[in-house]
């Protein structure tokens, strides 16, 4: 099940609009890597400055989320994981589409600042999650990986909202943060965990800009 086209169009529009407002040629996501780095190799986010580093971090997490949901679907198709319940299959499609919109929004911000877009995934977090994904043999295993990913991404957004100073970037983060939390709540329902565990969203487990991307 796909997300409403209106909201997806808006999120894409935010990124594209920032490019046009900046009057800077937007390279788009086809230019991989970060400024000054070997675009085919691993790079560090903290080689960017300030809010750009945070935006790139967010982008790398969105790219990892996309890759994770694609990989999960591929494992199901190969028969490595049992049949998915309808709600989990729907979540995979929906969440992937959302994360694609999120990645486009961040790439729009970054390229609007005259930097190459981030096409790599957050390798530091991938190192932790990939073994879990490969060990998953059923929808519970997959949902557990997704839950971890969505929760860490949400925590990183909250930390970013606190740290960033560019208002456009803050607004992008603020519009995406709740969606990751909604994904996490849904996965809690699937996993029979408390869907509303905390009074306040938390930044615990937020990824830092020292993470690597590749």
């Amino acid at each position: 099940m796909r997300a409403s086209i209106d909201r997806r169009t808006v999120v894409r529009g935010i990124g594209a609009a920032l490019c046009s407002v900046a009057a800077v040629g937007c390279a788009g996501p086809d230019r991989p890597g970060l400024d000054g780095d070997d675009v085919t190799g691993i790079t560090r986010l903290d080689r960017l400055e300030g809010d750009l580093a945070i935006a790139a971090l967010a982008n790398s997490l969105e790219n990892l989320a996309i890759a994770t949901y694609v990989a999960a679907r591929e494992r199901v198709a190969r028969g490595d994981v049992g049949e998915l319940p309808p709600a989990v299959a729907a979540h995979i499609d929906l969440a992937q589409a959302h994360h694609e919109d999120h990645a486009r929004a961040w790439n729009g911000l970054i390229t609007g600042a005259g930097r190459p877009g981030v096409t790599g995934v957050n390798l530091t977090l991938k190192t932790r999650l990939e073994p879990m994904l490969l060990r998953a043999r059923d929808y519970v295993g997959l949902a557990t990986v997704f839950s971890e990913l969505e929760s860490i991404t949400a925590a990183t957004y909250l930390a970013g909202i606190e740290a960033m100073t560019n208002n456009a970037a803050v607004k992008i983060a603020a519009s995406i943060h709740p969606v990751e939390l909604q994904h996490a709540s849904f996965l809690n329902l699937v996993l029979d965990r408390p869907p509303l565990p905390d009074s306040f969203a938390k930044a615990d487990g937020a990824r830092p800009t020292t993470d690597t991307v590749g």
């Binding site: 609009a17 911000l109 600042a113 949400a154 606190e162 740290a163 709740p178 909604q182 029979d192």
Partner: protein
């Protein structure tokens, strides 16, 4: 110093620094992204915005207390998962009200003890008809929407980073409340509330539509945000 003791200050990320000379700041965003409305503050202070938040939260606390004793929540036939969700959300709103009260007190701002009229009217209009889970969560989703949109809007308006973090942390939880209420509504409509058995392990029986009910959009909206100074103590 964090304004809310519930939010430990984290500085994991690089702070400060502009994105670059080429990127225009917030004002342009509202013009070029009309589907994502960021209500302009009209110069409202952080205190006024916090007072508005306090009034909204007070109305939510009152609403949850009003529905907690209903048969659909507390009666012998009530679904225990629904009852737990309502109780958890109610407790969260108590914490949110305390956090906004604390934030105002730290800033020597007057406390707003009047509940939001908008939220209160929604409850009053629906209260006598809340005989099913579907009707109950429909009301709760409506008032959570007002809160979530208002606090998310406030994230882009408040000047102080501690206030911004508080608004984002509370908004995030309200959006989770909204997600869960929408899932309950979808289950009620499908006659599938029984799939919410407690303690039975992972739930394979949730209908496909519950995924989109929980997270219908890729970006959170502020369409139903209350004016940021509506609850200001003048």
């Amino acid at each position: 110093m964090s304004l809310s003791p519930a939010l430990p200050r984290r500085h994991l990320l690089v702070a400060g620094g502009a994105l670059g000379a080429g990127v225009a700041l917030g004002g342009g965003l509202a013009v070029v992204a009309p589907g994502l409305r960021w209500a302009q503050a009209g110069g409202e202070s952080d205190i006024a915005i916090l007072q508005t938040a306090m009034s909204i939260e007070r109305a939510l606390v009152d609403a949850y207390r009003a529905v907690s004793g209903l048969a659909v929540v507390a009666g012998p036939q009530a679904n225990p998962t629904v009852a737990t969700i309502v109780a958890d959300a109610s407790a969260h709103h108590d914490d949110h009200l305390a956090a906004f009260t604390d934030a105002l007190s730290r800033r020597d701002g007057a406390l707003q003890n009047q509940p939001s009229g908008t939220v209160s009217r929604l409850v009053t209009q629906a209260q006598s008809s809340l005989t099913t889970v579907g009707l109950l969560v429909g009301l709760l989703a409506s008032i959570e929407t007002v809160a979530a949109h208002s606090y998310q809007n406030a994230v882009g308006l408040v000047a102080d980073s501690d206030a911004r973090t508080l608004m984002a942390a509370v908004a995030g939880t309200e959006y989770q409340h909204l997600a869960v209420m929408e899932v309950l509504g979808a289950l009620a409509t499908a006659g599938a509330l029984a799939s919410l058995t407690v303690g039975a392990g992972a739930r394979a029986g949730l209908p496909a539509g519950t995924a989109a009910a929980a997270a219908p959009q890729s970006a959170a909206s502020t369409d139903e945000a209350r004016p940021p100074g509506e609850g200001a103590v003048r």
